[in-house]
Symmetry: C2
Subunit: 369 residues, 2 copies
C-alpha cells in the first residue's frame, strides 16, 4: 500500500447492493464527499479511498479493503478518526475489522509516552503482573476514599485509580480528593518502601482539563485516569506531550462501536487507536465478567496493545469489569506478566481492603518468579 | 422526579433476565459501580440510580425508567455523558429512549449561545428558511475553495461551511483556507449587501484547538463548524463560553450510537445533548438522502432542537446528507422556516455554483414570504 492507510471492512449488503459499489462509495464518503462524476480524475485518484480488494464472503456479505492517502488526513488524529468512521457510522452494515497503519502516521501520532516498561519503572514492578484497583463508591468523602487508597497501597496494589465516575461531585471534589489520596499513597509508600501510585480521574469539562492535569502533576501524581471517548481521543496526546503523565485509559462510551453488524472491532479502538493516541495502559471489560467481551476479543486487544507497531512502545492491557480475586491467578497465567489486573468490587467484597490486597499481591508474586 | 435526571431505557432481555433486576443493575453500574450488598443504605439511596418504573413490553422486552441524583453528576457534561451511557455502552440490549432533564442541570449546561434568533441576526435572514452549503472536495487548494465560497455567497447561501473532512491537510492548510475563504465571503457581501457567513471547520487536535478558534475569531468569522464526537462534546461549551462564536455541529462518529437494539435515540444525542452543550445549529442526515434516518427520526430531532427546554435557546436543525436542490421546497414546507437546509453535492452538480445557489435561494424566498 506504499505509505497509505489500509482499512478492512466487513459489509452487510442490502438487496441489490454490490460489494464493489459499496466499497467505492465508502472511499468517496470518507474523503471527498462528492459523487465520482463531480470529481476530476486527479482528485479522485489522489484523495478518494482506493478499493484494493473485494471478496464476497456470503450471499449478502463481503470483505473489502480500501487504502487512503495520508494527504486526506494530515498528521491529525481527529481527522484520522473521521476518515475511519465519521460519516459511515451513520450508514448501516459497515464494520471496520482491520487496519494497516503506515509508518509515517504511526510516527506522527506517537503512541505511549511511557508504555509497559515505563509503568514498570514508576511502580518499581518487574517480573510479575501489575495490580490495579479503583477508589469507590461515588458518594464517599475525599477522606474516606483516601483511607481506601492507603489500605490498598499498604496491601500492595501498584496503581490505585479513581473510579471513572468520580469527577468533581460535591461528595468528594476533585481538588480535595487529589490532595487526600496522593497524601495517603505517599504515606503508605513511606511505610512499605514500595512505589504504589495514585492515578486521579482527570476526565473533565474542556475548560477545566488543563487545570486538573496541572494540579495532578503538582500534587506529585505520576499518572492519571481518563475516558477518551468522553473528552476526545486526542486529549491523550495532549496529556502525553504537555504534561508527561502516564495515562490509564478507560473505555466508557466506546461500547456502541462494538455492535456485531456495524462499528469497529474492539481491538482497533481499545487496541490500536488508544495506543496510538498515547495510552500507556488500557482498561477493557474482561471475558467472564459483567460485560460482554469474548475471550478471543480480549486476546486480540492484548495483542494489539503489545505487538510491534512501528517504533511505538507497547501498552499494558488492563482487563477489568467484574474480575474476581479468586480467579486472578488464572488470568495472569492466561494473559502473561505484561498485564495490569484491575480488580475492584471483588476486593471490596473482602471487607478488609489491606488484607484483601495483600492476598491478591501474594497470588501474582507467586506466579511471577 | 423532584430535580433528578430521568432516563428511560428500552431493554432487550436475555433468557432468564428480569426487567426490574436489569434496571437495578443499570442504576448501580452507572454510578457507584459496586453491588448493592457492598453499599450502605445511605449511599445506595443517595447515589445509585433509582428505579422509578418497570413495564414489560414483550416476552423479552421492557421499558424502564430510572432517576439519578445530580449529586452523581455535578454540573459536568463529560460525567453526565458517562452516567447516561458510559459503562452500559459495553453491555448488550440497553437503549436510552428518552430523557427528562432537571432545570438545574439544563441551566448549568447552558445550551446555545446564539440559537435560532442569533443565527438569524448574524446572517440577516428573517421570515424564511436559511441555506447552508459545504466547501469541497478535499484536495482543492485554499484558493479554489475560496472561489467556491465566493460563488456561493454571491448566489445567496447564508452559511458556507468547510466540509467536515477539511482539517489541516497539505492541499489547503487551515490558516490559509481560513484567510482566503473569509476574504472571499467578505468580498461577496460587499458586492451583494448581504451577510453570508463562512464557518471554518475547527475540529482539531486538542493541542491546536484554542489556536484555531482564536484564528477564526481574529479573521472575522462569526461561527465555526465542529464535530463534537471527534473532539469531545464539552468542547462546544468551551467555544461558546470562551470565544462567543456560533456553533454548527456535525454528527460524524455519532452513528454507532443509533443501532436498533442498543445505544441512544438520535434525538437525544443530536437533539438534547448537542443543544445542551451549546450547538446553535445541528447537522443530521435527512430522510431520503444517502443515510439511514427515517422521516419520524428527523421530525423528532427537529422537535428536540426547537422545543422549550428550561431557559435554553432553540437550536436550528440542519437536515443534510444528499439533499436535492429539486426537493428543497418540499423540505422547507415540511420542516418549516426555522430550518437550515444544508445542500452540498446537489449544488455542485449544477455546475455554475453561483447560479445554482441563486436558484435555490429563490425557492426558499418564494416559500418564506
Amino acid at each position: 500500500m506504499d505509505g497509505r492507510l489500509g482499512v478492512h471492512y466487513a459489509l452487510n449488503l442490502a438487496a441489490g447492493e454490490d460489494a464493489a459499489g459499496k466499497a467505492a462509495l465508502i472511499g468517496l464518503e470518507q474523503t471527498v464527499e462528492l459523487p465520482r462524476s463531480l470529481l476530476t480524475a486527479e482528485l479522485a485518484e489522489r484523495f478518494a479511498g482506493r478499493v484494493e480488494a473485494v471478496q464476497q464472503t456470503g450471499p449478502r456479505r463481503a470483505r473489502v479493503v480500501l487504502s487512503y492517502s495520508l494527504d486526506a488526513i494530515g498528521a491529525d488524529l481527529p481527522q484520522c478518526l473521521n476518515l475511519l468512521f465519521g460519516n459511515i457510522s451513520l450508514k448501516p452494515g459497515i464494520r471496520v475489522v482491520d487496519l494497516e497503519w503506515p509508518a509515517a502516521l504511526v510516527t506522527a501520532l506517537g503512541g505511549p509516552g511511557h508504555g509497559i516498561a515505563g509503568l514498570r519503572r514508576l511502580t518499581g514492578v518487574s517480573g510479575r503482573a501489575l495490580l490495579c484497583t479503583a477508589l469507590k463508591p461515588m458518594g464517599l468523602s475525599a477522606t474516606e476514599l483516601a483511607s481506601c487508597c492507603e489500605a490498598f497501597a499498604r496491601g500492595g496494589i501498584d496503581i490505585i485509580k479513581d473510579d471513572h465516575g468520580l469527577a468533581d461531585q460535591p461528595a468528594a471534589p476533585f481538588a480535595e480528593r487529589l490532595a487526600r489520596c496522593q497524601e495517603a499513597v505517599t504515606r503508605a509508600n513511606a511505610a512499605t518502601g514500595r512505589h504504589s501510585q495514585y492515578f486521579p480521574n482527570v476526565t473533565a469539562p474542556a475548560a477545566l482539563l488543563a487545570q486538573r492535569l496541572a494540579a495532578a502533576r503538582e500534587a506529585g501524581c505520576l499518572g492519571v485516569l481518563i475516558s477518551p471517548w468522553l473528552v476526545g481521543l486526542d486529549t491523550l496526546r495532549l496529556i502525553r506531550d504537555q504534561y508527561g503523565l502516564a495515562i490509564l485509559a478507560h473505555p466508557a462510551l466506546t461500547g456502541s462501536l462494538f455492535g456485531r453488524g456495524a462499528g469497529m472491532a474492539p481491538q482497533l479502538v481499545l487496541g490500536d487507536l488508544f495506543r496510538l493516541a498515547g495510552a500507556d495502559a488500557v482498561i477493557y471489560p474482561n471475558a467472564g465478567g459483567r460485560f460482554d467481551f469474548s475471550a478471543a476479543t480480549c486476546a486480540r486487544i492484548n495483542d494489539h496493545l503489545r505487538r510491534p507497531l512501528g517504533t511505538l512502545r507497547p501498552s499494558l492491557p488492563a482487563p477489568a469489569g467484574g474480575m474476581d480475586v479468586a480467579r486472578a491467578g488464572q488470568w495472569v497465567r492466561r494473559y502473561g506478566p505484561d498485564t495490569l489486573l484491575l480488580i475492584g468490587g471483588s476486593l471490596y467484597a473482602q471487607g478488609d481492603l489491606q488484607r484483601g490486597a495483600a492476598a491478591l499481591r501474594a497470588v501474582v508474586e507467586g506466579l511471577g518468579s
